[in-house]
Symmetry: C2
Subunit: 416 residues, 2 copies
């Protein structure tokens, strides 16, 4: 089965909203073998919506629509869908009762705007939304199916998980299999060179793609077949060959992350981790704690944004700060040693750098970052020379710090 996604909202076109919905939709549909042929964003405009519905109907059997179902006047999806299908709107008493109960539970009273949310095109099949006031809608039209959902991420996810995905999983025939090899600390072209011959010999029903990120590259193998088990085995075999070539650059597969990987390593060794962050400003701690259960191996972090805290909490020597500066190999070494004592942990990571856009000097331009990882016996340092872009520098340094911790815990740091 193939699918087109339509996301509705002027905010998606003028750059006010980062479209995370279609990422989640893409993943969920790929997992059950639904192929997405296109994804289109349009504004809350009648003519644009009608054209988008028409084209999506030409392209795909299934059309998933998000957005434009809210209680405010700019939300016109339902009216335009009714026009497209040539039907009227009707008032659904059942939905009205549900919304009234929903608001009673929150101790809020229902407004006229919410009453508007109980009108639906008459050919609708309603899909339950327990997370909000706008119900999901399924329409059958010219042997195609249109599914319209709210743009609020957790409401859309609820409807997908409870109604749409179970329905589609039942119907799927051909399987699509993706496997993604996750690497860190190396560039796309170096990796491509290592597996040039493997790529050249790929059978035509398989494909390879490189997805570069800041300090990470993902390499995806994809294929389609009626025999899912055989396809999985074939892709696993090729993946094994590639992983062998890539060596310790590989840290995981698919939905894994550097934060999850170091979490498992720390659990295995029974280590507690502590952080001393300066220029990354809490970003590494945020990555570590994005993993549920991270309190089992993460003690905490000192975000020492000032000279003062580096001295008073992390015991970096005044002389070190005066002689070599806060962004130096000596400072990050002392930060790790200080963090191990202060936080009472087995292993610590420190980062100090000039994220930018200001603060650079000829000696230490913006983008200069020092990293250190170690335990009480042994510490390793590394210097990065990055860009002038603050956000990019923070993200790259955070990934590099986690990758350095990964290699340290694998005792591979000297090989790098």
């Amino acid at each position: 089965m193939n699918c087109s996604i339509i996301t509705i909202g002027t905010e998606l076109l003028i750059g006010q909203v980062l479209d995370t919905n279609s990422v989640w939709l893409g993943k969920s549909l790929a997992d059950i073998g639904v192929q997405i042929v296109s994804k289109i964003s349009v504004s809350d405009d009648r003519a644009d919506l009608l054209k988008a519905f028409q084209r999506a109907e030409e392209d795909a059997e299934l059309i998933l629509i998000t957005g434009g179902l809210g209680p405010t006047k700019d939300d016109i999806t339902k009216q335009v869908l009714a026009e497209y299908f040539g039907v009227d709107l009707y008032f659904d008493e059942g939905q009205y009762e549900r919304i009234k109960a929903f608001f009673q539970q929150l101790n809020r009273s229902i407004t006229d705007a919410h009453r508007q949310q109980c009108y639906f095109p008459s050919n609708v099949e309603l899909l339950e939304n327990n997370m909000g006031t706008a119900a999901g809608m399924l329409f059958r039209h010219h042997n195609k199916r249109f599914i319209s959902m709210p743009g609020v991420p957790y409401e859309m996810k609820y409807i997908m998980e409870h109604s749409v995905l179970p329905l589609l999983a039942q119907e799927s025939e051909k399987s699509i299999v993706h496997k993604t090899i996750l690497t860190a600390g190396v560039g796309e072209t170096v990796l491509a060179k290592k597996i040039e011959d493997i790529e050249d010999q790929l059978p035509p029903h398989l494909s390879l793609a490189y997805l570069p990120g800041l300090g990470r590259v993902r390499v995806r193998i994809s294929g389609a077949s009626e025999n899912e088990a055989a396809l999985k085995k074939e892709i696993d075999d090729i993946s094994d060959k590639i992983v062998d070539r890539f060596g310790h650059y590989v840290f995981g597969f698919d939905e894994d992350s550097l934060a999850k990987k170091v979490g498992r390593q720390l659990m295995d060794k029974g280590y507690m981790l502590g952080l001393a962050e300066s220029c990354t400003g809490g970003s590494v701690a945020k990555l570590i704690t994005s993993v549920p259960g991270s309190s089992k191996y993460f003690q905490g972090s000192v975000v020492s944004y000032s000279y003062d805290l580096k001295e008073s909490l992390l015991q970096v020597q005044k002389d070190t700060l005066l002689n070599t500066g806060a962004v130096s190999e000596e400072t990050v070494l002392e930060m790790v040693r200080g963090a191990i004592k202060l936080l009472n942990v087995d292993v610590a990571v420190s980062i100090s750098g000039i994220a930018g856009p200001g603060g650079g000097t000829p000696d230490k331009p913006v983008g200069t970052v020092w990293l250190c990882v170690g335990d009480k016996d042994k510490q390793f340092t590394k210097k990065l020379s990055l860009s002038k872009d603050r956000e990019k520098n923070v993200e790259y340094s955070s990934n590099a710090a986690l990758n350095m911790l990964r290699l340290f815990l694998d005792e591979k740091l000297l090989d790098d």
Copy 2:
């Protein structure tokens, strides 16, 4: 002038990449009055690309394309563009010399794959890319313009900023003006109710849209006119009326953020800020330090993920932790008082909660979060009852903490 955006890459459809490019493109184009009529993502597939080019040419005068220009075999944009325009590819010696020099500077040698990047459709006008190996490309075709750029965000931005935006800004006639009012601590329907009459009386060339987020709602006023100055004044007048109704829920406009707002407040008062984060795990520190220059008012943060650090660093009493638990009003109060002393700051914020998915109890279900903000004389606390979703809880709590700090610094906290 109107524009269609095409983003190319299977990774955009199967949910492997969050499309931040089109957010940036949308903003930049809206700012110079270019109206985006649609945004479409397609996979690296010849037939899908040809169809996307055709439809975009029907819809708009300007077609912006990102992605598929890399050195790997899945990158086919140039070949398909040449086919669409009915021209051949040629080898550009100038680009080859440029790429060789680029690699020499990085002390790396050039590969065959990079040689491939020097082939271009013969009707190309090259656009300089100083950030990478794939040049930008401009094509004039049937009185329309196609511009193709790499998908790597900083390469795309370089080409836009140095070639495309200056070109378009020169040509623009009708101005589009957006103004967005930023609010925190209140829901979309409450806001809509407050300005129902203003919305009903809006002239037809203006429109209003609500963009809800976690703990924040943005309200956007948009309009188009040949007289930019008059339009700006008209929108400013309506904005003033709305701001008056919304009162202290409003914290800023357009690209402002809670983190920037509290930064300005702290600078004005000459205060240093410290944080004591538990369940948000560094997320508030990351928001604060995302603002360039934040070191002037941000001393640092203790991310006390464990009981131990709450006691040893923040001086939360053992009795408090035993009797009321780490997620309690007493604990966040002691965390703020402890942080003020430990970090030697004027004002501090603390957060402790159960982010989930595990760790809930009947008394304190997942989503229970306590916040505290204060100085050495006065502290305020607040309890949130959030969802079961870890990521959402962290984001909501972080925004709520910043909003509480904002109201405290404005001495408005008691009014809330």
